[in-house]
């Protein structure tokens, strides 16, 4: 296990430190500084991008990502909410021990929230690797993150341990297998709070039992355009699944991106929960594709126009807000997925969804940005990304 206290600090101050006189030399120095800055930005960009953002994976035309979360607690220790700082520290210490001793965890890096700059914590939130609660309110909150960033464990969230597996496309079963394996390894090292009747004991009664939350992120533009969504999503709700926007409940649903997840965790086996969600997801995929076909046969030019306009705006705008960006990225992606536009590949759009978030933009820029500056930087980053994707 390696420890990564914080990401590279802003090295921008070092530039231009040479004392060589003469104007030619000076120009040279500035050029060098710009190149260094560019390099730094490139490095940060690669830190932001995870494998799941590559836009590959089964059913990637509709499914952005699949996610599994397992809530686990340590036996005999107070749950995070009521735990003193001392007790939280102990939980983190136990987790560290487990990670140091178990071979399986050598691929993981530890990020302690308290020692990370706020902006980097925001990046982790936007990458769906930590919750806002962990990032902002847990003094001994920590994240163990695997190399490939598919597997991660939050320590001292609402529950002591939250195991997560995040994969691109529709791969619920694989997600479950990977998360469950990690769960087994952890259990070899620490004692779990488990009850024969009630299963895994969690802080919140909504998670007790399997402690399992399964979710998929879907892109449903055709259903959205044809105004089919409200009844479809209410049907999803009625079969006991929760529907949310990209970054949680309460956020307006933008860019036709949704998450659906199970709510029941007690009295159903993991396999049943997975199958149930998989079945509903398959339905949604079928409906969305059917609607795309319909749109394509009736409104081909209109769709191509919409995608082309989105591409044009994204490519040439100077200032863009994040809602507008998401909507345009959704339009563009639909066009790409339907083969109406070849300038970009569908895959890169997933990364753009994340990179155009406020935290990521500020991290890339290496400093705090007000909302005007963010709109400026967002346009710049989107263009860089699009240019990179086309090459």
């Amino acid at each position: 296990m390696t420890e990564k206290g914080k990401p590279a600090p802003d090295n921008g101050k070092q530039k231009g430190g040479e004392e060589n006189p003469g104007k030619i030399e000076e120009a040279h120095v500035w050029e060098k500084a710009a190149a260094m800055e560019e390099q730094e930005e490139q490095k940060r960009r690669s830190e932001i991008l995870s494998k799941w953002m590559e836009g590959t994976g089964p059913e990637a035309d509709v499914i952005i990502s699949s996610r599994i979360r397992l809530a686990r607690n340590l036996k005999g220790l107070t749950f995070t909410r009521l735990a003193s700082e001392e007790q939280q520290k102990e939980v983190l210490q136990l987790a560290r021990e487990a990670f140091r001793k178990h071979e399986e965890f050598s691929r993981f890096q530890l990020y302690e929230m308290a020692s990370l700059p706020l902006v980097f914590r925001q990046v982790l939130i936007e990458k769906h690797l930590v919750s806002p609660l962990l990032a902002r309110e847990s003094p001994y909150g920590a994240l163990f993150l695997e190399d490939g960033e598919a597997l991660s464990i939050m320590v001292n969230e609402e529950d002591h341990l939250r195991i997560q597996c995040l994969l691109p496309g529709l791969q619920l079963k694989k997600c479950w297998e990977m998360a469950s394996r990690l769960d087994d390894c952890l259990e070899e090292m620490v004692g779990y709070a488990f009850d024969e009747e009630l299963g895994f004991l969690t802080a919140c009664p909504t998670n007790v039992g399997t402690g399992l939350r399964v979710s998929v992120m879907l892109h449903l533009p055709a259903l959205s355009i044809t105004r089919q969504l409200s009844w479809i999503l209410s049907a999803v709700n009625q079969v006991g699944l929760a529907v949310r926007g990209l970054y949680g409940e309460g956020t307006e649903i933008v860019g036709s991106i949704f998450q659906i997840s199970n709510q029941i965790t007690l009295g159903q086996s993991e396999e049943e929960i997975l199958e149930n969600l998989h079945g509903i997801t398959a339905q949604l995929i079928a409906q969305e594709r059917q609607m795309r076909e319909k749109l394509l046969s009736k409104n081909r030019e209109k769709l191509a126009d919409r995608a082309g306009r989105a591409y044009g705006t994204l490519k040439h705008c100077r200032l863009i807000g994040s809602q507008e960006a998401m909507q345009l990225l959704s339009d563009l992606r639909l066009g790409v997925d339907l083969g109406l536009l070849n300038e970009v590949s569908g895959g890169i759009l997933n990364g753009l969804l994340v990179i155009s978030r406020p935290g990521c933009l500020q991290y890339l820029k290496g400093r705090q940005l007000d909302s005007h500056e963010r709109d400026l930087e967002r346009a710049r980053q989107i263009q860089k990304y699009l240019a990179f994707g086309a090459s």
Partner: protein, 193 residues
């Protein structure tokens, strides 16, 4: 600890003190935001990334759902709306100190012992949330070694009855012995998991 103190930072940019307080009511669910002027004005960026689904948002006390739970726990937990269940007032978890009243307020448990302490009073709540009160999923190898054996015994008993019905007594005896062996391990290994 949670809740913090002092000035509340803007939930959007996290850098400035919040001066704008937004209350949003969607489908009858109230959510609140604390923002700085700048973020509140730049609506294009106002996406409230820290809003979680209410089911998860028990901690922090911002979410409406914990109120919902407390309602279930405090009033109607035993099916008698408006009345605090009898015999709960003095209930308190000896391990973490959580009382029944507190449980109602914060809507979540303090530790694993709470489940024993508040045991019977929880089942109606769990049934309402999950439509169920018994775990049938994964059993962890160590913490659930007892449960695993029990589950195995249960399966074997059913098999045994089937063999008896089929009058396959030889097999039935074999199964009975296996069950006895497992039961011996259960009582012998008491407290050993």
């Amino acid at each position: 600890m949670y809740g913090g103190c002092g000035a509340v930072l803007c939930q959007n940019c996290e850098s400035k003190e919040s001066t704008v307080h937004v209350t949003k009511i969607v489908n009858g669910q109230k959510t609140e935001f604390y923002l700085c002027e700048e973020c509140a004005a730049g609506r294009s960026d106002l996406e409230f990334p820290d809003l979680e689904l209410p089911l998860k948002g028990i901690i922090g006390g911002k979410m409406p759902l914990h109120q919902f739970f407390s309602g279930l726990l405090g009033k109607g937990a035993l099916g008698d709306p408006g009345v605090v269940p009898r015999g709960t007032a003095e209930l308190q978890c000896p391990a973490c100190g959580l009382s029944y009243a507190q449980l109602g307020q914060i809507g979540c448990f303090g530790c694993d012992r709470c489940y024993e302490v508040f045991g019977d009073h929880l089942l109606p709540l769990l049934r309402r949330l999950h439509g169920n009160q018994k775990h049938i999923g994964k059993i962890p190898a160590r913490a659930g070694s007892h449960a695993k054996i029990k589950k195995e015994i249960e399966g074997l008993r059913q098999e045994l009855q089937k063999k008896v019905r089929e009058e396959d007594f030889e097999e039935a005896v074999r199964l009975r012995d296996i069950i006895r062996g497992l039961e011996g391990r259960l009582s012998g290994g008491e407290g050993g998991d």
